[in-house]
Subunit: 329 residues, 4 copies
């Protein structure tokens, strides 16, 4: 027998999206909240994100995977950093090197095509990222520029450093606008847990071989450093783009803090997740935030929304809506 009246389920009618009443991107998102499916999730995401970024007590961690910079999403990250809306970045190495490519080559990525002869592209030394082209030449130019900075920063050839500290030093020595330079200026750490998996790591090996550098990266040190930042804030949230290592690395900090009895806080309290992976294969990229709660990565009362959508659609819409709500634009 029903043990609660129908009214408890039927509290609010769907309010169909009325295009005539839309003026701004924020209007779109406000409207979608009362529609269904992923549109509703995207609409709700703005509320959670706005709440996260507009409170000083909430540490907002952006996790970044997928080829966001090649797809033209780097400037959005820059804007978020420049307005101090993000407190920590956890990224793939790829997005870092692509940011460096763009700053050193005045955008080194090209509008390409996913339906091409990849063998011919290879003969031209043009690397393809779905429908974006990245000529090897952009990489080579970047490799040289990074080396110049490294020579400037480090007096000795033997370098013992955490990845985040290394990236901070790089950023401090870039004058033009890019993710690394803005992050460095605004004291926003960039963690790259899988640094060895990227063209940046390959460049470092080239420097080792050609210039006798010896890089030692203290990868556990960055975990501790991140833990110290976490402990300084009362509440925490994630803005997850994709999944992969950045998502998990950012999330595992709470189980660690629990293990070493350093903290009462139990997990992130907020999350906006933009994903394309599904949970059916048991992989971390697609697992639900709810699953992460069982691990103590999110608190039992956390407020979160997952938007199943390519980030090149969801992120620009969401950030435009956010900037409109914040009256920045």
């Amino acid at each position: 027998m029903p043990n609660m009246p129908n009214d408890d389920f039927l509290t609010e009618k769907i309010s169909p999206f009325n295009v005539y009443q839309i003026k701004s991107v924020e209007d779109v998102l406000k409207s979608l909240k009362y529609c269904g499916f992923q549109g509703r999730n995207l609409g709700k995401a703005l509320d959670v994100l706005y709440n996260m970024v507009s409170s000083k007590n909430i540490l907002t961690v952006l996790t970044l995977s997928g080829a966001m910079v090649p797809a033209g999403m780097g400037e959005i990250i820059c804007a978020l950093l420049e307005r101090n809306l993000i407190d920590v970045i956890v990224s793939t190495g790829a997005n870092v090197i692509h940011d460096l490519v763009d700053v050193f080559t005045d955008v080194g990525h090209y509008v390409g095509n996913s339906n091409v002869d990849d063998n011919e592209l290879y003969r031209h030394r043009i690397n393809r990222i779905y429908d974006v082209f990245l000529p090897e030449e952009s990489y080579l130019k970047t490799e040289k520029e990074i080396l110049l900075i490294i020579k400037k920063i480090f007096q000795e050839k033997s370098i013992d450093i955490t990845p985040s500290e290394f990236l901070k030093k790089l950023g401090e020595n870039i004058s033009k606008r890019c993710i690394l330079s803005i992050a460095a200026k605004n004291n926003i750490p960039i963690f790259v847990p899988a640094l060895s998996d990227s063209e940046l790591a390959l460049d470092l090996i080239v420097y080792s071989l050609k210039e006798d550098y010896e890089f030692k990266f203290d990868i556990l040190g960055d975990i501790m450093k991140f833990g110290e930042i976490i402990k300084k804030f009362e509440e925490h949230g994630t803005l997850i783009i994709g999944g992969g290592v950045p998502r998990n690395w950012a999330q595992q900090i709470f189980p660690l803090l629990d293990q070493i009895k350093k903290m009462k806080t139990k997990g992130y309290k907020y999350s906006v997740r933009i994903h394309t992976a599904t949970e059916y294969d048991g992989g971390l990229s697609g697992c639900t935030i709810s699953e992460s709660k069982s691990w103590g990565k999110y608190s039992s009362e956390s407020k979160y929304v997952s938007v199943w959508c390519d980030a090149t659609i969801a992120l620009p819409i969401l950030v435009t809506g956010l900037f409109q709500r914040l009256k920045i634009i």
Copy 2:
């Protein structure tokens, strides 16, 4: 050896999405055209769609599957019809009955939740569509209202009619704003090839049993009728939401016209497709427009773009951008 210079591949740089320069939804879409991935596809979709709907010589066919009306997308369809931007609809039966539910119950769908006890919902007789709730009561009220119209329209109990003609008559007898009434008023046919697969069909069976109606639907007649419409236009395009029967039924008309030697025209020339299915399983819902070209469903020179995105995100964004470009809003 390369047989074309790099310049032929590297013609245009990615232009990163700059949130500071965005004022409107149309701006978002214009910007995304020079980014990558599905964002670019969504940006390009506006150009193709604008071209289709703004030319009088192009017949624009909207194919509609997925629970668009329950998710609050019905009013968008109404706006497109009311502005005569769509010439033909091919739909699932579900979207038709949901449109009728909304017009007869002043929106009969509710903001629900995908994480519920479905057994309890059943005890309350609340039907769930992902995160939208549709109480059985809304269906029952609608069943009664449709019967009233049927009694008004048809003097005899034996009814021999095409599904599109039946839906037109229903629409003509609805005074309030809904997809069916606007379509009827603007003489836009609604084809429902799988009419027997929907609550509407179940209602018709109820009328048969309780009121002795006998409905005969001339399902091949609607194919011929659609063929006649196709032949009146020089060029043709599709706006495909989802896939399924509506997509294929709309597309198969060209192979038919070819088979019966009725037409020189070879396939649709334009298409915007919003889909979530992939092509990997060989199913029609996910197959590429290119695959459809091998069948003669699209012409070899056709201009098309597929956007891999839930329609509750892509459609409102796209139609808002379209209405802004058309200066309707």
Copy 3:
């Protein structure tokens, strides 16, 4: 505080898949039941399916969408029908016409390639279905053969019939092994709710134009006929391949029977679903069986498993395992 002991959650250890202990396909499936993710689901599916097909009291409904016959899955359906393991088929029109193509052309589908120039395929009049090629010539030959049968079956040009009766008559007049002929012989009805959406319908229109046939299909009649079959059995199950119209048409019968007060039974009690669609877009193809319970399409105690896997992998494995368990092979 925990209100149930850990033991209640931790009842059975994962038993890693041990390849050395595998002899048969059934062994694979038995082993996978104690592994995780979709492997486990596939393993469990055999138990549910075996239970369904081996009980005389359970009506087993196979719903068939996706291009199963072109992909070489037709013979599996034949084997299931021939052993009377399936009681009812609900299919797309495509699978029916492809079955006819194969029987009249001694397999008219070819091993193709998904990475081809579709414009060139069109010039050759070769229709592509992902990586399968279907030359138009196979269709033309089939069109002629069907016409011969129609001329034989029907004395009059005006034909008023349900789709299932029409397909039964076709099947009765085919002597060679195929889905339609075996189904007819074993009195297994084939329902095609969206008959007008297929090459078969196009053929019927050709016959109408060239030979003056007039086909009237009683599409509501088939719903009633299916309802009568349902009522004869105590329990019911579905084997769902894909989703689309076949899945929903098979499922909506219970809400109908409830509406017309014809039945106490509340929904299917068993289901094996093989799907590639996700539930995130709110579409019926991807919706969970649990969601279908809220509609009364499945009973609250139903036993079901969904396997997220392309059917061309899951179906052959599952049916081979079933035939091994049944000692047929």
Copy 4:
């Protein structure tokens, strides 16, 4: 006009899967090669894999992401290693720690359920991986066992080592059957490029805090070490499970070797990829092998097949088929 005859496209008919002719899993795969869609890909994968593993001149690299060990796939990896069918593993840290959990707790993963209250699981300290449960207690026991080995291996508290060397030492000190112990015994290196992203890294931090260990991991050193292995072989292949860091790290070695002019060989020549990600979002996990060719990661003549399927289905089937073809079982 057609410039090649139809015969060139229509060379081989689909050969429908005939369940009556199947005896073994290898039979299933042989049959599926002449069917369509992912079934065909799985069938073809056996040929490519068999070719790779049975040639002494081909280095076979297994890349491992996704929670393979918790899902019961670890014993398959053990069998592959034990038979020396795999030469190198590139893995996530998760699969390594889960292997250690299983060896130290006599399988520490449990058959769970994806439809549970995650808050309650957390109260019980049971971590969920989709439908697999991993009690925190299994982790704690493992943490202690690893520490015992570390104490045994390293005389000093300051440890400067590559991740692969560290894992080898661990494996050498485990007597029971597991991935790490077999790999160590058979001299098969295990590379974990993102070591800091896993419970294993968290354990190392615990040891640092409680026992004053200081771990320095030479993450670039492992790239060089992998490069040396690559150079010893004439030909190379990948067996890719999932995507993520392991896939890319294994692939980037060829662009590196090209950059440092160390090698003539241009990319892997063989690949079997089992994936669930799609290419539409531009992410590396879903990108095609063809795309990787543009980067020089695969040679232009490489033979590869991608199977879109959850690995918990595709991998056991494929490896069973392989072991049958190799007459191991």
